[in-house]
């Protein structure tokens, strides 16, 4: 499937944020985000909802507006809404009702964390209207009209814990390098102004077409992507999460070597590395231990004749 230029540019910047370890999020969950949008950005939310069912990422969720309704009205939702679905709705609404494709966090010169919301675009002519929007004005700048759906943008931004909001303009064919992006974002973090347009459409450093061609080749074996892929939708933690993700990866037909590489992206693995100040011994032992355990359990499932592990049940508890 051919990706739209705007979506490709957005994926490029998201890939950069992940790589540079500055990818971040707002502290609010999906429900709280929707409630704030409803309270302070209602027109944009309402119209985003009218089009949300037409978006490709919502194809699997025809009930999306029923769920949003229940969140706004504070009612219990009787259908099913898993974490992955809720996350997709939050990301989509932040994009369509609050001009935010991604959020990054980095420290400014004084060592203070700056949370920056980024609206990525490949349409240079849209730069001014997008900037007016995040500044709380009408897109067309027509001050004679009384309708202005964006007037609460600055207020909502601070309620969402976002310090800066920028429109990032890129060329659809030539992307700025990661180094350029990082330099520009640090400049934004250090500037006093809350909003800005950062136009990098002339930087022409990375060939977009070639980048995505290479990306596709790498995708098949890239371990961090495997972790993201197989941990999607899981809400468990530590050992249980490692076990579930490993189990999914085995079912996905990946080699032991690939899975061990994947487990290096496991938060638990990284916790060991951090605690042991970079010494990988304990982390690697943990990863191979998880893998061995999952392989052994799968072996038992496929071999019903082999002895089952003893069931641990608390005595005196019967249903």
């Amino acid at each position: 499937v051919e990706l739209k230029d705007g979506l490709r540019a957005e994926l490029y910047v998201k890939g950069f944020a992940k790589e540079a370890r500055i990818a971040s999020d707002i502290p609010h969950n999906s429900e709280a985000t929707i409630q704030l949008l409803d309270q302070y950005n209602q027109h944009n939310l309402t119209w985003a909802r009218m089009y949300i069912e037409r978006r490709r990422e919502m194809e699997r969720y025809p009930q999306v507006n029923d769920w949003i309704d229940s969140v706004i009205k504070g009612q219990q939702y009787l259908g099913s809404a898993d974490e992955q679905f809720k996350g997709t709705v939050k990301d989509t609404l932040l994009d369509t009702a609050f001009s935010t494709d991604l959020i990054v966090k980095l420290n400014d010169n004084r060592g203070e964390a700056q949370v920056i919301a980024i609206d990525v675009t490949v349409k240079e002519p849209d730069q001014d209207s997008k900037l007016r929007k995040i500044r709380g004005q009408r897109e067309d700048g027509d001050a004679s009209k009384k309708f202005n759906p964006n007037r609460n943008y600055p207020r909502l931004r601070s309620m969402l814990g976002i310090d800066k909001h920028i429109v990032l303009v890129m060329d659809a064919k030539q992307y700025p390098s990661y180094a350029t992006l990082l330099t520009e974002l640090y400049a934004v973090a250090n500037q006093p102004s809350q909003t800005a347009a950062v136009n990098l459409s002339d930087s022409q450093e990375i060939d977009a077409v070639q980048f995505f061609a290479e990306q596709r080749k790498v995708e098949k074996v890239d371990p961090p992507d495997l972790w993201l892929k197989y941990s999607k939708g899981l809400s468990s933690h530590s050992v249980q999460l490692s076990t579930e993700v490993t189990s999914r990866a085995i079912a996905g037909g990946h080699s032991k070597q690939e899975i061990l590489q994947m487990l290096a992206s496991d938060p638990q693995y990284q916790l060991f590395v951090k605690k042991d100040k970079g010494d990988l011994t304990r982390a690697q032992k943990y990863a191979s231990g998880i893998l061995d355990k999952v392989v052994a359990e799968r072996g038992k499932k496929n071999n019903p004749d082999s002895p089952q592990p003893e069931q641990h049940r608390k005595p005196g508890r019967s249903r």
Partner: protein, 154 residues
């Protein structure tokens, strides 16, 4: 002066219609049956330009409508027929055509409340977000009482 419908139908741009359907059409689309459309066409005297045994998409395309969408949820303005145009001049001409009584009664027969001529920018591909924003201003700049037929510029 009423536009000549024969000339009109031959000037509808198939490629532009396909592009418009592609960028707007999501999982939810307002569907009418072929019979419903036939009845509406005959009631509105638009019948002479259509042929029998065509699907709903072809039937609508024959009178210049690329697709019909619902904007009801949660408190939107209603059902909207969409006719694409690729220039300002085309858009103004199409606006005159769809404002005719024949088109009005066709929409009335199907319960379609609004009809947009979507003027697409030839420089860049249209995006759903842009249509979302433009339609929001269309609705509110008319104090939530927009005209039945309008040009929306992307």
């Amino acid at each position: 002066m009423l536009a000549n419908l024969e000339t009109v139908s031959s000037s509808f741009d198939e490629e532009l219609m396909a592009l418009t359907r592609d960028f707007i059409q999501g999982p939810r689309l307002h569907k009418f049956t072929v019979d419903e459309i036939h009845v509406a066409l005959s009631q509105s005297n638009l019948t002479e330009i259509i042929e029998d045994s065509e699907g709903q998409e072809q039937l609508l395309a024959s009178i210049g409508i690329a697709l019909i969408i619902d904007l009801f949820h949660p408190l939107g303005p209603g059902t909207v027929a969409i006719t694409p145009a690729k220039s300002h001049a085309d858009a103004q001409r199409l606006l005159l055509i769809i404002s005719q009584e024949t088109y009005h009664s066709f929409r009335k027969a199907l319960g379609i409340e609004y009809h947009w001529v979507l003027q697409l920018n030839s420089e860049s591909s249209p995006e759903l977000d842009e249509l979302m924003t433009k339609s929001m201003y269309w609705f509110h700049d008319y104090d939530q009482n927009p005209p039945e037929c309008s040009v929306i510029e992307l």
